[in-house]
Amino acid sequence: MTTPANASPPLNVDIKPPTLAVAVSAASVGSENQPEEIAIRAHGLNSWYGTVQALKGISLEIPKCRVTALIGPSGCGKSTFLRCMNRMNDPIPGARASGTLTLHGDDLLARTLDVVELRRRVGMVFQKPNPFTKSIYDNVAFGPRLHRSFRRTDLDELVENSLRAAALWDEVKDRLKSSALGLSGGQQQRLCIARAIAVGPEVLLMDEPCSALDPRSTASIEQLIRELETNYTIVIVTHNMQQAARVSDRTAFFFEGTLVECGSTDRIFTNPTNKQTEDYVSGRFG
């Protein structure tokens, strides 16, 4: 595996590595003054796969330009909730949802909603890095090209900004035309983040983005998430309690399709009100 060319991230993530160049995307600028502006609001959200109810009355508010972690045992509906937010459940036969789910007031469950437009506003990063079998450049340019045509120089700039924002630019700037499959797993995952950013979303959904990565790549992605927070509303699913504690501002604990507890990460990890939550975050669960 190739070692990242820039400052090697230390394995102990508590020590901040030298700051990487952060390109401020024009897509959305976080406002520091109103920290608790709500981006996504779920109220009594239910979701079914056929006759199986995967979400039971979820009511949850996700603040803008903050990192929200979803934790909970396997099969409790974290991914389902995530996929409700960009309607990626739609292609699954028998999947449906009820209740209310809004993004800045727009109803995300509406039948008439333009899902293509929605997915531009709500990007997603998957558990396993899934770059296209195209060049690094074409991977990042893929999303923007879907939506409109670009002048060459504009597209070059957009690709560079996205790769910088994903902290990948320095490692790949000399090989933009080579295949994305030649990157290491961690680099591929950052490429997938760059690809999602390139479309200019407001929200980034991440479904266990580090579970297929080694500790070093995980550390670099975690740092990246912290940097992206200034511009993007991030919702991350993780099974790693330390990771949730490190990267998130707020944590929501799911259990068997219900939301058990939600609050600031500090409080959830140090002083949970619910016994189940306490057991889960301290690893005494089940």
Binding site: N86, V116, R119, F126, N130, T133, F142, G143, R195
Partner: protein, 331 residues
């Protein structure tokens, strides 16, 4: 943690029975090895048999036909005098018919496969179609010949074959008549019927082999179903689709029965000039010569077989090369 623990537990549970069996019963191990060896030996014997049969076939045909092979053989029309006869008409007829077949079958077949794999909802209707296509792939080609005769050559009897509706001059390239009669267009389209199920099924398999995660990635970026198919799924499956199409073509070029049923003239001294031209194909010419009494014609048949095999081999080689090239380009 919780999940890790469960995994470790199931691991140990899975391992232990295997170890017990291996340690306790060496006799079963011996038997397994004997079965293993016997099976391997049988496989080698059967493979060898197939190779030997193919070898005998090739050698006898080569012995019969190679003296006839020459530029002149490729470049002359059929003739009553064996020393002058050649495969010019059937060779060009085969080329025309196959090109028409490919131009019609590949877009229709790939389009159908895309519809079935990427767009249609999982429904009874879809599984009904799917079952039928799978069955059609096994229908004898002569049946398609009859269908081609009815549909293309005679247009279901809707117009008289004797006085067809014509467009353009019969001597020019741009000439059409309805119904098509037994021209090369009817032949190519009949071959299309034969290979269509094969192309559909192989293209479906090709599309299915593209990882779902790539489609999901494109959809999550705001791509429509069509953009995803066009930009991601189709390019990734092109090598397999091409391989399937080329192999289907090599099936088409070897078909005699459906063309025979169309009622093409058996003795032709022209090459096609337009879609309505009379034509014959290599397998028909071979059949024709092989039926004759004189040994001279049998040599001609053998030589034509060599030409046909050479074409088939080339097509297959092209398929392999394309797959290799595109696979390397993809990774």
């Amino acid at each position: 943690m919780h999940s890790l623990g469960a995994q470790a537990q199931s691991n140990t549970r899975r391992r232990s029975p295997g170890e017990i069996v291996a340690a306790a019963v060496p006799a079963s191990q011996l038997r397994r090895r004997v079965v293993d060896r016997t099976f391997l030996a049988l496989c080698i014997v059967f493979t060898g048999l197939a190779v030997v049969i193919l070898g005998i076939l090739l050698v006898t045909i080569w012995q019969d036909g190679h003296t006839r092979l020459s530029w002149q053989f490729l470049n002359s029309f059929a003739s009553r005098r064996t020393e002058e006869a050649g495969v010019r008409a059937p060779m060009w007829g085969s080329i025309w018919a196959c090109v028409i077949c490919a131009l019609a079958a590949v877009p229709i077949g790939v389009g159908t496969a895309i519809y079935l794999e990427e767009f249609s909802k999982r429904s009874r209707f879809r599984s009904f179609i799917q079952l039928n296509i799978a069955n059609l792939a096994g229908v004898p080609s002569i049946v398609y010949g009859i269908l081609g005769l009815t549909a293309f050559a005679r247009a279901f009897g809707s117009a008289s074959t004797d006085s067809p509706i014509t467009i353009g001059q019969p001597e020019s390239f741009f000439y059409l008549q309805l119904p098509f009669g037994h021209g090369v267009l009817a032949g190519g389209l009949t071959l299309m019927l034969v290979v269509l199920p094969i192309i559909i099924v192989s293209s479906q398999e090709a599309l299915r082999s593209v990882p779902r995660s790539l489609r999901t990635a494109s959809l999550a970026l705001g791509g429509t179903q069509w953009q995803t198919t066009w930009n991601i799924t189709l390019p990734a499956s092109i090598p397999m689709i091409m391989t399937g199409a080329i192999l289907a073509m090599s099936r088409a070029i070897g078909e005699a029965a459906p063309i025979l049923v169309l009622g093409v003239p058996l003795f032709i001294r022209t090459t096609p000039i337009n879609l309505m031209s009379d034509f014959t194909v290599l397998p028909l010419q071979i059949y024709n010569w092989a039926m004759r009494q004189q040994s001279g014609f049998h040599e001609l048949a053998a030589a034509a077989i060599i030409v046909l095999l050479a074409v088939l081999l080339t097509l297959n080689a092209v398929a392999v090369i394309i797959r290799h090239r595109l696979q390397r380009a993809a990774s």
